[in-house]
């Protein structure tokens, strides 16, 4: 009976702790905005104006299998990373500290470098340029 009480109490505490953590986290969660784009002549054009307070933007095009993480660097340049795990081509999950592959656990830093295997190759970086008021990502 004591053991049963222990399990019940422990589970209740765990559930309460989990619920508390979840609620607290949900309320403080940052969000990564998603910009819907389209591919034209092997390029994607993104307005400079989409960058507000945040320096990271997810770019999504129906024609592409994977999202692109577009980052505004401190020196004003823009870096575009293809969010495809270089290990088994699984789509990556964006976190505040980089990118995670839920399939085998590979992790990448915000710059696309591998921080945790099994992936060994950094994320594919796509060339960017500024044309008028747009950031142009080359899909080469």
């Amino acid at each position: 009976m004591e053991r049963r009480l222990f399990i019940k109490t422990t589970c209740t505490l765990c559930a309460a702790l989990g619920a508390g953590l979840t609620v607290a986290s949900f309320s403080s969660c940052a969000s990564i905005p998603v910009y819907a784009a389209s591919v034209s002549r092997k390029r994607i054009a993104v307005p400079l104006s989409i960058f507000g307070e945040q320096n990271v933007q997810i770019v999504r095009a129906n024609e592409l299998e994977y999202d692109i993480a577009l980052r505004k660097e401190s020196d004003g340049r823009y870096t575009a990373l293809l969010l495809r795990c270089t290990h088994a081509s699984n789509p990556l999950t964006v976190t505040e500290s980089g990118f995670v592959c839920p399939l085998h656990g590979s992790r990448f830093g915000v710059g696309g470098d591998v921080t945790h295997g099994p992936a060994t190759i950094a994320l594919k970086q796509l060339a960017t340029s500024i044309e008028d008021d747009k950031i142009v990502i080359a899909l080469e």
């Binding site: 024609e63 495809r84 999950t93 591998v114």
Partner: protein
């Protein structure tokens, strides 16, 4: 959509055949939505697809261990597993597989050794954030089930909790739906697959032997899981639930065995929550899980396998990479770690069960993980085991030449592993 609702309504009448049909429909619809629409066959789409997708990918992992059991005074050395991973992308639809060989050799006249598919499934991309898997896959349950590469976890042995309470690697045949919300840094998944086989439950290993693992699985029962992962800074949290039937046999056979049949007949429920933290070379994990088998007494009456009514396990682990400041781009790491684990595989037993103190266990593991590069690991650890006392009522024949059971043991393990 109305047709789909009608099918779901019909399936609520608990017909396995109907639910199988629903899974088929889901897979077909995923397949069709994953294919490029006629509007997407422009030159841009074709070119971008060619430029940004892979063809075939090959990977793998494996490990070998030397282990000394202080109590039994025995040592073993084993090529535990070599796994070959092969995947192929057909654009929007991919194939993934992991073929595993355990213990280096399989011979018809010897025990041990196994060749098995750990995963073999098709993945249908719905969009950049959602996909469906169909086939033999590892549902998202616990930490190790999906991420079990030897370079991923501390120590040579997988945790006892994620071996016996959560029977990793736990793969079954079915359909999984995976998605993520960028707006809240959340991943979610739902899985529907075959249930367990309570006839195969074994005393001392929880529900582990009840897995079908894709081999002639009974679809008389089904199981569902749901998982929620949340990323917050350097913290990853997860909560999952599993509920599935375990009768495994036809309704007529179940009646004769006095087991409840139906989709979720003779149910097994599992709950799990975990959190992982990683920053500046410091890592921490906590995990807790509980299994409930409300009809354990019926299973014992039918199969006499001493099935518990509930079991639980939990562990807390911390590690620090001493080479954090000098690891370089090759990812060299030397991590010192410690883990405390407690589990009970007969936390509660039905009236017709027999208590076994040896299944109430505590483990303390201390060790070192050295990665000369990210994908190669050398491990050394010592595990201190403490259990309850054995129940003489469970000893049918005592091995007079063997060591008497001791509640304390020390297990020393050295190993090497790789993943790519």
């Amino acid at each position: 959509m109305d047709a789909l609702q009608t099918i779901i309504k019909e399936c609520s009448m608990s017909s396995p055949r109907c639910l199988s049909f629903l899974l088929f429909i889901l897979t077909i619809s995923a397949s069709s939505s994953g294919q490029a629409s006629p509007q997407q066959t422009s030159e841009d789409t074709l070119n971008s697809g060619t430029l940004l997708t892979n063809g075939t990918v090959i990977g793998g992992y494996g490990d070998a261990v030397y282990q000394n059991d202080g109590n039994a005074k025995t040592s073993t050395v084993d090529l535990e597993r070599v796994v070959l991973f092969v995947g192929h992308s057909f654009r929007n639809i991919s194939f993934f597989s992991e073929l595993e060989m355990e213990d280096a050799k399989v011979s018809g006249d010897e025990n041990g050794g196994e060749i098995a598919f750990e995963q073999a499934y098709l993945k249908f991309n719905l969009d950049q954030n959602h996909y469906i898997t169909a086939g033999l896959f590892l549902p998202r349950i616990g930490i190790l089930n999906e991420n079990h590469l030897p370079t991923d976890f501390y120590g040579n042995e997988r945790t006892q909790t994620e071996t016996f309470i959560i029977p990793s690697t736990w793969r079954e045949l079915g359909v999984g739906f995976y998605g993520s919300l960028n707006s809240l840094l959340i991943n979610y998944s739902i899985g529907i697959f075959n249930g367990l086989n309570s006839a195969s439950f074994e005393h001392g290993s929880g529900i582990r032997e009840g897995r079908f693992e894709g081999k002639n699985a009974s679809a008389n029962n089904l199981a569902i899981t749901g998982a929620l992962q949340l990323y917050e800074g350097n913290l990853t949290m997860q909560a999952i639930g599993y509920f599935g039937g375990s009768a495994g046999v036809s309704p007529r056979q179940a009646d004769s065995l006095q087991l409840t049949s139906g989709l979720f007949g003779t149910p097994v429920a599992l709950g799990e929550a975990d959190a992982q933290y990683e920053a500046n070379g410091f890592t921490a994990k906590i995990l807790g899980t509980i299994v409930s088998i409300p009809n354990a007494s019926d299973i014992n009456r039918a199969y006499a396998n001493n099935t518990p009514q509930s079991e639980f396990g939990a562990y807390a682990e911390a590690g620090y990479n001493i080479l954090q400041s000098s690891q370089g781009p090759e990812g060299k790491a030397l991590t010192v770690f410690g883990r405390y684990e407690t589990l009970d595989m007969n936390a509660t037993i039905p009236a017709n069960g027999i208590a076994d103190g040896t299944l109430r266990q505590q483990h303390i593991v201390l060790g070192l993980n050295y990665l000369p590069i990210k994908n190669v690991i050398i491990k050394g650890d010592v595990r201190f085991v403490h259990t309850g006392t054995e129940n003489p009522a469970l000893i049918a024949v005592r091995d007079l030449a063997g060591q008497p059971y001791s509640s304390n043991d020390t297990i020393f393990t050295l190993g090497i592993g790789y993943s790519f």
